[in-house]
């Protein structure tokens, strides 16, 4: 099945060792995003970067990948994204959240499409 619509894309930048209530932040955001049935979420690990603290974060042999920057992308219809913002705000304590308007083409296999929109 093919759907085409205007959507919003959230990008959340933070550090790999950031936590929210004891949980790694990327997992906490993913849980929050799933609980709100957001359409799509993905996290990437960066190689090196710096954030609000202006401290350079990179992976080292000792820290492993844990201290590298993480970027998460969440995509859904604009109204769903707006509704999600308060919860996201609560979950993310330190970090950067950017939002942009995008055009989405969503392709789903026909058998799984029923009642899953």
């Amino acid at each position: 099945m093919r759907e085409e619509f205007a959507a919003s894309m959230l990008r959340i930048h933070f550090n790999g060792k950031d936590k929210s209530q004891g949980m790694p932040l990327q997992e906490a955001i993913l849980e929050a995003s799933r609980s709100q049935e957001m359409m799509f979420a993905i996290a990437y690990r960066g190689v090196e970067g710096f954030g609000a603290s202006a401290r350079i974060h990179r992976q080292t042999a000792l820290s492993g990948a844990k201290t590298a920057p993480v970027m998460m992308t969440i995509i859904d219809r604009p109204e769903k994204i707006n509704k999600f913002m308060p919860l996201l705000d609560q979950t993310v304590e330190g970090g950067l959240i950017a939002i942009s308007s995008v055009e989405v083409i969503r392709l789903t296999k026909d058998d799984s499409a029923a009642g899953n929109a």
Partner: protein, 239 residues
């Protein structure tokens, strides 16, 4: 899509063993050619006058293979250069032909590849989200998408592997330490002019069974590539 009237019929003659026909067929598909057929001969001889046949005793892997497709003259001219390169020692024949009745696709598509243009200023950024295990014709989909983009002269593509995420299925992908999991979410990003990106969409939508295609506006500030000089050292990365 092909219309009734004048067109060109292209025949490419190859031998089976070198498996070039599979690569050529992929290329024709990526370029949005209306249709192509691969014929397998039962016997024949090549430019070296070596006879190849399928005997009962010996199974030959060098049987003649012929790929045939019919397209508009413009489209044939666009792909012919690359086909000559891909056919290796094989022969390519172009014949004028007349389409009496075009084949009708089940779904309308407006695939028209555009020639490469210099790109700066307003452009489109396309992100494609698929699973790492997704396949197209038994090959990893993300790799084949990059191949397809290359065949269409898109300006460049980058593949990213996600560490965590869920997609169209709401399946949970989690990258386990030491790469125990092989079904991560993948993202391919590509930037090109709106025409080129939209021209590529019909092929893309045929290849991606399940996934998300996200388009956004961007301004390209610089786009250049290193000139290829075989006897010159590479000096600095262009971007």
């Amino acid at each position: 899509m092909l219309k009734t009237g004048k067109a060109l019929k292209v025949s490419i003659y190859l031998t089976e063993g070198d498996s070039r026909h599979a690569a050529i067929l992929d290329y024709l598909f990526f370029r949005g050619i209306s249709g192509a057929t691969v014929f397998k001969g039962v016997a024949g001889f090549d430019a070296d006058h070596r006879l190849h046949s399928a005997g009962y005793v010996e199974i030959s892997d060098k049987l003649p293979v012929k790929i045939e497709f019919i397209e508009s003259e413009q489209k044939v001219q666009e792909v012919l250069g690359k086909l000559e390169e891909m056919a290796g020692r094989g022969m390519i024949e172009v014949q004028e032909t007349k389409i009496v009745k075009p084949a009708l696709p089940s779904r309308h598509s407006g695939a028209e590849a555009q020639p490469a243009v210099k790109m700066e200023g307003k452009a489109k950024l396309m992100r494609i989200y698929i699973g790492e295990d997704d396949r197209w014709n038994d090959k990893p989909l993300y790799k084949m998408l990059v191949e397809a983009m290359r065949a269409n002269d898109l300006a460049g593509a980058t593949v990213y592997r996600g560490i965590l995420g869920y997609g169209a299925h709401r399946r949970f992908h989690r990258d386990k330490p030491f790469h125990l999991s092989h079904d991560a979410s993948m993202m391919i990003s590509v930037v090109d002019t709106e025409e080129k990106i939209r021209g590529f969409l019909p092929v893309l939508e045929q290849m991606v069974q399940e996934g998300l295609i996200v388009l956004s506006d961007v301004d390209v500030v610089k786009y250049s590539h290193r000139p290829i000089h075989t006897n010159e050292a590479v000096e600095e990365p262009a971007r």
